[in-house]
Every structure is written in C-alpha cells, then in structure tokens.
Amino acid sequence: MIFAGVSCAILVTMVLAIARAIKGPTVYDRLLAVNMFGTKTALLLAVIAFLFGRADFLDLALAYALINLVGVLAVLEFFQNRIDANGDASGD
C-alpha cells in the first residue's frame, strides 16, 4: 500500500509540473517542467512495476533513465545552432 501512496505523490507532482509547463512564463520554465516530468515518469514506472507486482517490467524505467537525456541535449544543440546562425553569440 505504501507504493500506492508513493505513486499518488508522484502523480500529484506531475500535475504540478504540467501546471508549470502550461504557465510558463519563459520557454526555459517549460523546458524545466518537461525535464522534471521525464524523470518523474521513470520513477513512476518503477513504482508502478512494484505496485502491480510486475518487477520484470522495470525495463521501461531503465529505457527512460537511459534515453531521456537525448531530448534535452537536442534542445541545447538547437539553441546553440540558432545563436550561431543569428551571429550574436552569447547575447552581447
């Protein structure tokens, strides 16, 4: 039952993260929320695997732990490229 409580806590935090993602105000706040949402998903999947007694399904959490980084790094590269293209490196 403890796992039910833990998963509820994570779900509530996910709602808070979505609230931040929708509220903004800057793009970076949304990014932060999305990133946080990703790690919370990995946590939630691990907890649910225990809650439902399907410990062999932990692969999914492992996949997220390994892959989540790629999206954020792509964002960093995107910003870097855009700044390079606009010519104004590092603001001023």
Binding site: V6, T13, A17, L31, L32, K40, L69, V72, L76, G91
Partner: protein, 111 residues
C-alpha cells in the same frame, strides 16, 4: 532473528519511501512557488536527486537480493548520472540564449 531483521529492513524501506514521496512533493511545490527560472532549477533538482535516491533505496530494500534489485540499482545510477547532465544542458541553454540570472556575484579570491 531473521524475522526480526526482515521487519527492520521493512521499516527502513518504508521510511525511505515516505521520505522520497515527501521530497517529490516538496520539489513540485517548489517548482511552482519559486520566483524565477534559475531558482526553480534548485527545487527541481531536489526531486531529481534526493527523491530518486530515497525512493530507489527503499525499493531495492523491498526487492531484496534479486535481479530486480540489480535493475533498480542500474536505473538509479543512470538517473543520477543523467539528471544533473540534463539540468546542466537546460541551464546552459538558458544562459546561452541570454536569459541572465538575477543574482549577486561572488567573486573568487585572486590567487
């Protein structure tokens, strides 16, 4: 003796899981409450590190000596490795795009 040990392990893992869930919640509240982007990162990193550590240690204790525990340990390791890296990428892309933090600057002493 063994049963007694099992009960202690159970209690410890429950405490860890409860600490983990509290940390997750506080991090979520912090992300909503904090005033600007750079201070929100700190609240998010609370959920990234402390919560991950506590929740996964709790689950590893629940799993006991099994392959599930090994897999959980691997997940925890990778999350703790990628979490700060993702945060760095995030903070750096904000910094690169000229979103400057409002912060006092503490200069390093000159050697």
């Amino acid at each position: 003796m063994i049963e007694w040990l099992l009960i202690v392990v159970d209690i410890v893992s429950w405490i860890l899981l409860i600490i983990g869930s509290i940390c997750v919640l506080i991090g979520g509240i912090g992300v909503l409450r904090m005033p600007d982007f750079y201070s929100r990162i700190h609240a998010a990193s609370l959920t990234d590190t402390m919560a991950t550590l506590a929740l996964f240690s709790g689950m590893i204790l629940q799993a006991g000596f099994s392959l599930a525990a090994a897999k959980l340990f691997a997940i925890m390791l990778f999350l703790l490795l990628t979490g700060p890296t993702a945060t760095y990428a995030l903070a750096n892309s904000a910094l690169l795009s000229g979103h400057k933090p409002k912060a006092a600057v503490l200069e390093k002493k000159v050697e």
